[in-house]
Amino acid sequence: MLDFLQRLGSATRASFAKVGRSTFFLSHALAGIGEVALRPRLLVNQMYSVGVLTFLIITISGLFVGMVLGLQGFNILSDFGSEEALGIMVAASLVRELGPVVSALLFAGRAGSALTAEIGLMKATEQLSGMEMMAVDPIKRIISPRFYAGFLSMPLLAALFSTIGILGGHMIGVGLLGVDDGSYWSQMQAHLDFYDDIVNGTIKSVVFGFAASWIALFEGYDAVPTSEGVSRATTRTVVNSAFTILGLDFILTALMFGDN
């Protein structure tokens, strides 16, 4: 019994310590904005590995998600004789939920795990300590550009996901199933609001980008510097990012869309 209490206590203390370290880490990484502004080269390089390399998986998934929504939506809506509402159904589900959430999950899987593995390996091979020896702050030099790159890429990726998805739904709905082209777009425009839907969806993706980059970088930086430690950290990144994104999504949805 006493043993159990002791373990519980030490686990609690360890988790609080981790929260503290990650908060300190975040503030340190955020403070690196000066470094990033002085060397935009670093940011561009990271935008490439975080954003451009995720681009393909985002567009292809977006296309298929949109096409599936088009098919499923058509089947359900045709029971009620309201196939014209396909546009609003596809667009609302993409812009409000699927765009930010699915692209954030893909982002965590594609870019987040790569970031963790990269940073963890840098730590394991003592590149980070090497930088410190040369009086280069590794957080400002290595972490900050990656953090800001993830933070900036995420809303762009989510917007692309929604756009491609809506076009995919259009391809299936209008091109294949014969929904009227005009009503596909006009129903969408009549029911989606710029502030309520598009801006809120973008805010969601910004929050998810922030959370996913933070988790990925911190897990890498905090990894046990062995090959096993790095592999565990990479797993933790994907699992924790998925939980955090879905949990935050519920909270944000309740805050944004709860009152009407």
Binding site: R41, V44, N45, M47, Y48, G51, V52, F55, A91, V95, S153, P155, L156, L157, A159, L160, S162, T163, I164, I166, W185, M188, Q189, A190, L192, D193, F194, D197, I198, T202
Partner: protein, 154 residues
């Protein structure tokens, strides 16, 4: 960095396509293009029943949309519904004796306010009130009345 040129181009392409996506969503998908912060003025109308009317429902004259419903409140004294509408300023020549009716677009479609201009020389101003109104038609009520009449006849 050896491939920095191609990398720059690809990053540029990525950022540009992301921004194009955002613009596409803003202009093509949402209703941003249909109300580009136009000047509007407010008029209100009292209905004994505003049915399924919602905030942002269209307000139209002769089928042309000239504004949107901005608020729906309940008058605590008379238990009437007060519907406030934002009308675009370019349509500022609505006569004072305009009447308002709540119609349904299609049998089960959404409800909208239709304004029927009268013959008065004076125009409705900001904060003006429409006196002549006709409430929303509630389908169940109509069917109920019809059935009641049918039963009475027999």
């Amino acid at each position: 960095m050896q491939h920095s040129r191609t990398q720059d181009t690809l990053v540029g392409l990525f950022v540009a396509s992301g921004i194009v996506g955002l613009f596409f969503l803003a202009l093509q998908v949402s209703n941003l293009s249909s109300f580009v912060t136009e000047d509007t003025y407010l008029i209100s109308a009292r209905f004994s029943n505003s049915g399924g009317l919602k905030v942002k429902s269209p307000v139209s004259v002769a089928g042309v949309r000239i504004g949107r419903v901005s608020a729906i409140r309940l008058d605590k004294q008379t238990f009437e519904s007060i519907v406030e509408m934002n009308i675009e300023s370019k349509f500022n020549t609505l006569p004072e004796d305009t009447s308002a009716t709540i119609y349904t677009a299609g049998l089960l479609g959404e409800q909208y306010v239709s304004l029927e201009p009268g013959g008065s020389e004076d125009h409705l101003k900001n904060g003006g009130q429409i006196e002549i109104t006709q409430s929303a038609i509630v389908l169940e009520e109509v069917i109920g009345k019809y059935l009641f009449k049918k039963a009475e006849e027999e």
